[in-house]
Symmetry: D2
Subunit: 299 residues, 4 copies
C-alpha cells in the first residue's frame, strides 16, 4: 500500500530508520529539559529537533516534542522506554517514544462529497502524508469507484436513525486494532460518545467557518446574505461537544459580493481540503499535542 | 487642513478636476446600462470606470457605479443632475452624481486606544485617505496630545450613564452640518438609535472577529483558551443591531499557541487598523453600496 | 466526456443556455459603452455582468467584457455578430461574441509530475473547470495510468533533441482543429516559435517564483540557501521569450528556515497547482484579456 | 524616553526582570542540549522557551536560543557568563547571555519618506518595539518636525557625492557607543564597507520585492508594465553586496491591472512598513540568528 517510487521509499526509510520521537506533557518545573536531554545523550541519541511550550513557567504545564537519531532504534526502543520510565516518573510525565518510520494506520470516513477524500489520497500517493490508509468507510456507495484505483479497501456501512448503533458497531469492528486515526472527510454523521471513547484525540473533523459564525442550517446561504468578505474552514479533534473540540488548523479565503451561495460552497470546499490535509499531516507526524480544549502545534 | 505637498495636491486636483461619480440602485431590467451610458455620452462625458452588479438578472436589484470625466464638471453638475432625473425616473432609480474632487468631511470618534486613530491620521496625511478630517471627538482626553500636531480640532465630550443623552446631543451639535461620515476608531460607547438616524450608512465601526465567534466578555481571553489559529477584524456600518450591520471589509492574521491573550490583543490591533483604514478609504471614494444587510464593494 | 451529475449538468446548461459573452478591445474614446449597451438593448439582450478597463481615458486603450442573456442565443448568434460588426467598425474594435455554454476544448501537456494534472482533472470532474478535456499529451508514459479512469485520450509523444521538430508536428497533428487551449501542466519542454504561432495567447504555463528571482539551475536549492521566507508560483501565457509572457495569476506561501530544499519543492507544488487551476479557470471563462505584455483579468 | 504608561512599564519590567536569553551557534554534535540545559538547571534557572535548529544532525551547524528565568539575574549575570564559558569551550560555541530587560539602543536612518519611520515610532510608543530609540539621523530635514513630538534627538547629516566619507564619519561619531542597531527606514544612501564593519549584522534595511524581480530604475513602473499580481517587500541585514544580505522577513500584497504605477508604490509602502517593523521587532528580541547568507528566525 505504498505508492512512493522505490527510490523515494528507500530515501524515506533511510532518512527515518533510526529517527525517534519523544512526546512529553507534565507540570512545569526546573530541570525537565536537562533531564530529558541528559537521558537522550546518555543513550547515545542525537537531538535533531526539539520544541517545547509552557503555559506558565511558574505553575503551568509543560509540553515537549523531541526528534532524535539513535543507532538501531528498532532494536533498542523497548529498552529506551524502560529506562526513560524512571525519568518520567520523577516529573509526573505523560509520555511516549515513537519510531518515526512506523506510519500510523488511518481510516477515512466519507459520505458523498469527494473533495477532502481526494486531497488526502493525492497527498498520500505523492508521499506527503506519512500514513498507511487502512480503509475508507462510507454510509453511501457514491465514492467507491473513486477509491478503487488506489487499491484501498472500501466498506459501505449504511447509517440510518434505526440502525445507527449497529452501524457504529460495524465500523468499530472494521477499525478495531487496525486503525490509529480516523479522519472525517466530510462524513455527515455525528459519532456517539461511545464511539469517541475508543479514539480519544484520534478523530479529526473538518467544517466550514465564518466570521461571524452562523448558527443553524444553510450556513453558506446565511454568509451570502450577510455579505461576508472571508470564508474559512477549521480542522479539529472530535469531542462530545459538537464542533467544539480542540482546533488544529484554520484558514480563510477572500470572497466578494459577486460570489453567490453556490460559489461560496465551492470555494469553501477548496479551503476545507487544504486545511484538513494540513491538520492530518501534522497529526501523523505527532506534531499536535492537546491540552484541555486547545492544541499545541509544533509544525 | 490639506497635508499633501503642493505638487501632490495639484496633481490630485488636476487628475480629479472634471471627474464625476454616478451611483445607481434600482430594480434590474434590460436597458439600464444603455440608458445611463447613452446619457453620459450625450452630455459629452467619457466613462473612465464602470462597475455593476445584479442580485439576479431576472427579478433582482441592480447596482452601478460609474466614474466619468466631463469638461467643466463643477459648472455643469446641477444641469447634469436635472437632466439625469428623467432617465432615473424611468427606471425607479436611487441615484446620485458626485464630484470626485469634493472630499467627504469626516469625524473620528475615539476613546483611549490610539492605533486606529493613528492609522487614519497617517494615511490621511500621506494622501491616501481622500477626506477632510473635520474633528476628533473623544469621551476621554488621553489622545488630545496626539491629535494636536495634525491641527485638527479635538473635542472632549465625556460620556456617562447619566449624561449619555446629553453627550450625544453635544456630539450632534458638533457634527451637524459639518460632517458627512463618522468613523468609530475604537470608540467604546454604543450610539443610540436616535443618533444613528442622522447618519444612516455613514457610521463605520471596527471590531475584532474570530472563527468561531466568541460571545460575551474578554473575547481575546476566550480565543486564547480555545487555541484559535486565526484572529481577525471586521469593519461594518453601524445599525441598531449591535455589530450586525453590513460588513465592509474583513481580514485575519495567523497566530499560534505561543501567543498569549495579550499578544492576541496586540496582533488584533494591527488587523483592526488595517481593516478599518481600508473600509474608510473605500467609503470615501463611494465604492461601497449597501443593499439590505450586505455591502457591494467595487474596490 | 461530461462528469457532472445529470442534475448539475442540466442546471449548468439551463443557467447558461442563453448566456453570451462579448469581448472588446479598442482605442478609448467617448461613447463606447453607450454604443455597446445600446446595441445589446436593441437586440433584446439583458446585461448580466459588465467589466471594463482603460489604460488612460484620454489616449489609452479600452477593454470590455460583457455577459448578457438573450432569448434563443444559439439561433441568433450569427445575426448578432453580423449586426454588431457595424458598431465594432466605428470604434476600430477587436471583438468576439461567444456562447457561454460552448466549453473550450483543452489539451493538457505533461511530463512526469502529476500534481498540476491531478488538480485540473479533479476541478474538471467536480464541475469547476468549464472545459472539455480533449486529450492529455506527454513525452513520457508515467502518467498514463492516472489519466485512464477519467476516460480522456492519453497520447505519448516522445521528445528528444533529434526528434523535437517531429514531436511538435505530431502534437500539432493531434491538437489541430480539436483544441482551443493548451495547458502546460509541468511540461518540461520548450515549445518552438513555430508551435506557439498556432496558439497565440492560448497556451498557459506554470512556473515557480521567488523574491528575489533565482536565475539558473536548481532554484529551490538556491532559495533554500538564501533563506527566503516566501515561495511562489506564476501562471502566464507562453510567448517566445521564455517565462516572460503575460502573467495571469501569482501566489505565494510562507516558509521558514526549517524547510529544506525538498520541503520547498513540495510546498511549491501545492502553490503551482492552485495558481495554475485558477488561471485556467479564468481563461476558460474568457476572463483574461491580453494587452501588450500584461493581462487584464476580470475575475 | 519610555512612552509606555507607568502600569505597562512596571508590568514589562516585572515580567522580564529575571528573564535571560542565551544564544548559541556551534558545530552540531550529540550532547549540546543536555550540556546547556544541565548547566542552566545547575544554576537554578528555569527554561521558559527554547528553540533550536540544525542544518544537518550529522555534520551541520547547530543554533539555539533559550529564554530562562533565574532569581537576581542582574546581580548574577557575570557569574553565569564566567561559568558557562567552560561549557561553551567544550563545544566550540559562539554564544552570548543577555538580560531581556536591557533594551537595545536603536538609531533610525531616514531620507524623505515617512511611512517606515512612523510605523517604527508608533509601534515603539505603543510598547511593541522593545528598544530605546537613541536618535533619528537623516540626510534631509523633511522629517524633523515629525520626530519632535516623540522627544527623540534628530540629527541632520547632509550627504553628497563629495562629502559622503565625511557624512559617514559624522554618523559614526553620533552612533558610536550609543547605538546597538541601525534601521534604514527608507534611507536612500548606500553605506560604505567601512561603515558596515562597525555594525555587522546590526543594520536592517527594507526594500521592495517583486516576482519576478525587476532590475534597474523605476521598478514599480516595470512591475506595472508587466502586470504583476503581487508586490512585496523584503527586510534584510545589510552586507557589502547590495540588497543581497540575509533575509529576515518578506511579505506580499495582491494587486490587479487596475492599480497604476502610483497605486503600486502606495501599496508597496504599506507592505514595507509592516515587514520592516516585524523584522526589527524580532531582531530586538534576539530572535534572528545569521548563518552564512541566511537567517534562522525563532519568532
Amino acid at each position: 500500500m505504498n505508492h512512493l517510487s522505490d527510490r523515494e521509499w528507500m530515501a524515506y526509510r533511510t532518512k527515518n530508520k533510526d529517527r525517534g520521537r519523544m512526546l512529553i506533557a507534565c507540570p512545569d518545573q526546573p530541570g525537565i529539559v536537562a533531564a530529558v536531554s541528559q537521558f537522550l545523550f546518555s543513550q547515545g541519541a542525537n537531538i535533531v529537533q526539539s520544541d517545547q511550550y509552557t503555559t506558565d513557567p511558574e505553575t503551568g504545564n509543560f509540553f515537549m516534542r523531541v526528534e532524535f537519531d539513535v543507532v538501531d532504534l528498532e532494536e533498542r526502543i523497548e529498552e529506551l522506554r524502560r529506562r526513560f520510565a524512571t525519568v518520567a516518573n520523577d516529573f509526573g510525565m505523560d509520555w511516549s517514544i515513537i519510531e518515526a518510520k512506523r506510519r500510523k494506520r488511518m481510516a477515512i470516513f466519507v459520505s458523498k462529497e469527494d473533495h477532502c477524500l481526494l486531497e488526502l489520497l493525492w497527498q498520500w500517493k505523492s508521499g506527503q502524508l506519512h500514513a498507511d490508509i487502512a480503509m475508507v468507510i462510507s454510509n453511501h456507495t457514491d465514492l467507491q469507484e473513486l477509491v478503487e484505483p488506489f487499491q484501498i479497501p472500501f466498506y459501505h456501512v449504511p447509517v440510518s436513525k434505526e440502525r445507527k448503533e449497529q452501524a457504529e458497531a460495524e465500523q468499530l469492528a472494521l477499525t478495531s486494532g487496525k486503525v490509529d486515526v480516523i479522519v472525517l472527510a466530510r462524513y455527515m454523521q455525528i459519532l456517539s460518545p461511545r464511539f469517541l471513547q475508543d479514539y480519544p484525540q484520534q478523530i479529526i473533523n473538518i467544517h466550514h467557518s465564518f466570521l461571524p459564525a452562523f448558527v443553524g442550517a444553510k450556513p453558506y446561504e446565511q454568509a451570502y446574505k450577510r455579505g461576508v468578505k472571508l470564508i474559512g474552514a477549521t480542522a479539529h479533534y472530535v469531542t462530545e461537544e459538537l464542533d467544539a473540540g480542540p482546533i488544529i488548523e484554520q484558514d480563510v479565503q477572500r470572497v466578494t459580493h459577486q460570489h453567490d451561495a453556490e460559489d461560496l460552497k465551492q470555494l469553501g470546499r477548496q479551503i476545507e481540503r487544504t486545511v484538513l490535509a494540513r491538520a492530518v499531516g501534522w497529526h501523523l507526524q505527532d506534531k499536535v499535542l492537546v491540552y484541555q480544549n486547545k492544541t499545541i502545534v509544533f509544525p
